[in-house]
Symmetry: C2
């Protein structure tokens, strides 16, 4: 109500970030008023620095340079394979697993005609180009399961050249899960994808 | 894992704010990478602006100037009364209720010997001064109920001059509450503070 202008400004700008409401923004702003001048400058400068972020010209991952650290990494031994993900967070999750040593391709979302997202809004053309140029034999579609995700996978399968292995990431019961708490769709996928032991 | 440096810096600084973990900070930072240069500058500038925030020399409320908008407001008709709160958020909550038109005094916390917070860390001396200077007849202690809050109220009662009315905010059942879900302490307070109708 009687919020000082300088706090109100921060609340206003912070609360434009999805997931930050006015109350949370106020809590953050009040915390920040107790930080040192140096801390405030460091935070402000890091935010300004985000305007310089680039996209990797190869895989479309957010990057400090024109080519990302994964595409530049000489230790990436699994050549000829590309893992297609929707977004940087998906790439980070797969990297955390430590189970994949190939390259990525960031789609930038999934097809969603109702939201006006067609093939041109995604990096599908670039993926097709890369497959020709980089001698790719296998594409892993690590796209999240949803109506749009499924449609995107089908579309990509259609436009990729013949003779390429196209795998979709496996669906089933998550490790540590309980059947009791799983949705019916996951259970039916887990049954369908059962493996002889 | 392969987070670009510019994003990593923002994640690092944002995650120092209590309530923002690394994952949430990353989500915020990724959202911010999609904002315009102007938006990023506005947010960064508003954060830098927080270093200029002052405290009201009278009531200790955070303020753009040396005196806060409440202490300066000529419409504050209830003179001679001061509402003592722990923090700016408590003041804002009371203002939202629209039921109080007097002045405030921000303590800056409650007494907590274990955390090294004694009377000198709070603005109790200033409160005693104000009571003499401003011809105050009533002090409302709107301090949150807790062991430390109760001790702080007792301490303030001791150090305030005689002849002043000292009220503590009323405790009982919250409006819209259900007895079934209330803790025993609140129920016992509600019974104790019953009012003949």
């Amino acid at each position: 109500v009687h919020l000082p202008e300088k706090i109100a400004a921060t609340v206003e700008h912070l609360s434009r970030i999805p997931g930050i409401g006015k109350r949370t923004a106020l809590r953050y702003a009040l915390f920040l008023t107790r930080r040192s001048r140096d801390d405030l400058h460091a935070l402000a400068d890091s935010i300004r620095g985000l305007q310089e972020i680039k996209k990797c010209q190869k895989c479309n991952l957010l990057s400090d340079d024109n080519m990302c650290s994964i595409c530049r990494d000489p230790q990436r031994l699994e050549l000829g394979i590309i893992c297609v993900v929707e977004d940087i967070v998906d790439c980070l999750a797969i990297e955390r697993s430590g189970q994949y040593r190939g390259h990525y391709h960031i789609l930038g979302g999934v097809l969603n005609p109702l939201m006006g997202i067609g093939p041109q809004e995604l990096t599908i053309d670039k993926l097709v180009e890369r497959i020709k140029e980089e001698n790719i034999h296998t594409v892993i579609l690590a796209i999240n399961p949803s109506v749009e995700g499924d449609a995107t996978c089908s579309y990509i399968k259609q436009v990729l050249p013949d003779g390429i292995n196209i795998d979709r990431i496996g669906f089933g019961m998550p490790m540590g899960g309980h059947l009791e708490h799983l949705d019916a769709l996951t259970i039916s996928k887990a049954l369908e994808n059962r493996k002889r032991m």
